[in-house]
Symmetry: C2
Subunit: 223 residues, 2 copies
């Protein structure tokens, strides 16, 4: 079937590199949902302010032409074990559909854009097309006791992040915490392990350059 | 964007009438997911058996030609209050996309169909097209404390169901509990209130005929 974007996501991540690998992992990460013109009326979201969380159904738009396979190698498993694509949330999947649970921070009325939903904890790239949003209904959606397969069994330690003060000063103050929390998640593709390699992560309009050795990520340059 | 079904749902509900209004409401309701030929290999679901729940992204296929509006009237609010379509899970929504969390009962290998996923608690009609399935990951998806808007504030009392023994005997024994639990949810369109009106709900190959008076639903005939 043919589906049309109802909205677009705006986030500090201009590319998919560095985006947290699941929603909620970096709770302070702020983004916003801007509707397509035909939904730019406050009545389209009437009642939403009384919910804490939102589901977003969106497109892994950067993977449109990516090759697909019935199995994938989850980064949580070190990238060397294959799981069925339908047993993972891998971004490489038949219909490129993503699903994220984000916290509603606030809903603002913009004279031009209509309702703008500010959310926290999103794992969406800037300018991601959104196909639906639905309120999170705890009685149907919350299963805190659920077994979660390989995700339960993998120990995972956030990286320690060293961000020298003179580099930190280049970043808007209200974005520093999200940047650090994102880096703690280890943005490297799968488990690279070359301590001398320098990676560049686009964040807002910056290029954050860093290296990783012994579970310490050091930011070496911000351009 | 164009999306293609990866699977189809098989359920006791041949039409949308009577389907529980959210996943999990009738936990014993059993259905199954049958893949399209290109995904009929066990490796496509490898690892899924270690998860308890599954997300299904599907199509409200019976509403393809339904009229859409920016606001809807949730049955939980008695059908007389309008909410924004994006503040509800209404089946009348721009891209007809449905989202359900179901419990994985078991995964079987069928010589012809490949992996077949048996699930419980689904709110999908028979032969619903499915566009993606993803495992439920508790750390990202479970927010039991989440405020859930109008859903939190509406008292809702299940109906008492009277199913005479001679009618019950017409239904396969293993389906009786789901039928009763479904009827308790009040399958009537919004809040009809004519105690003499007889409704017919298709269930499996049967037509379940019932009426409702004073919060008691009485099954009067099963054809």
């Amino acid at each position: 079937m043919e589906i049309q974007p109802i909205a677009w996501f705006e986030s500090p991540f201009p590319t998919k590199f560095g985006i947290p690998r699941q929603s909620g992992l970096v709770p302070d990460l702020t983004g916003r949902i801007v509707f397509e013109p035909e939904y730019r009326q406050m009545e389209a979201v009437r009642g939403l302010e009384a919910f804490d969380y939102l589901w977003i159904i969106w497109e892994f738009s950067a993977n449109r032409d990516a090759e697909k396979s019935l199995t994938v190698r989850p980064p949580r498993l070190g990238g060397n074990q294959r799981m069925g694509v339908f047993a993972t949330r891998s971004p490489f999947r038949p219909n490129n559909l993503g699903l994220s649970c984000v916290r509603i921070d606030r809903i603002e009325h913009d004279a031009k854009l209509g309702p703008v939903i500010y959310v926290k904890g999103a794992d969406l790239m800037h300018h991601t097309p959104i196909y639906d949003i639905k309120p999170y209904v705890a009685y149907a959606d919350a299963h805190p006791e659920a077994r979660s397969g390989f995700v339960d069994n993998t120990e995972w330690e956030p990286l320690k992040v060293e961000l020298p003060k003179e580099l930190e000063n280049k970043i808007p103050t209200d974005q520093v915490a999200s940047l650090i929390a994102t880096l703690q998640q280890d943005p490297r593709p799968r488990y690279h392990n070359d301590p001398n390699r320098i990676y560049g992560m686009p964040f807002l309009t910056f290029d954050i350059r860093f290296k990783v050795a012994d579970n310490v990520l050091t930011v070496v340059e911000i351009k």
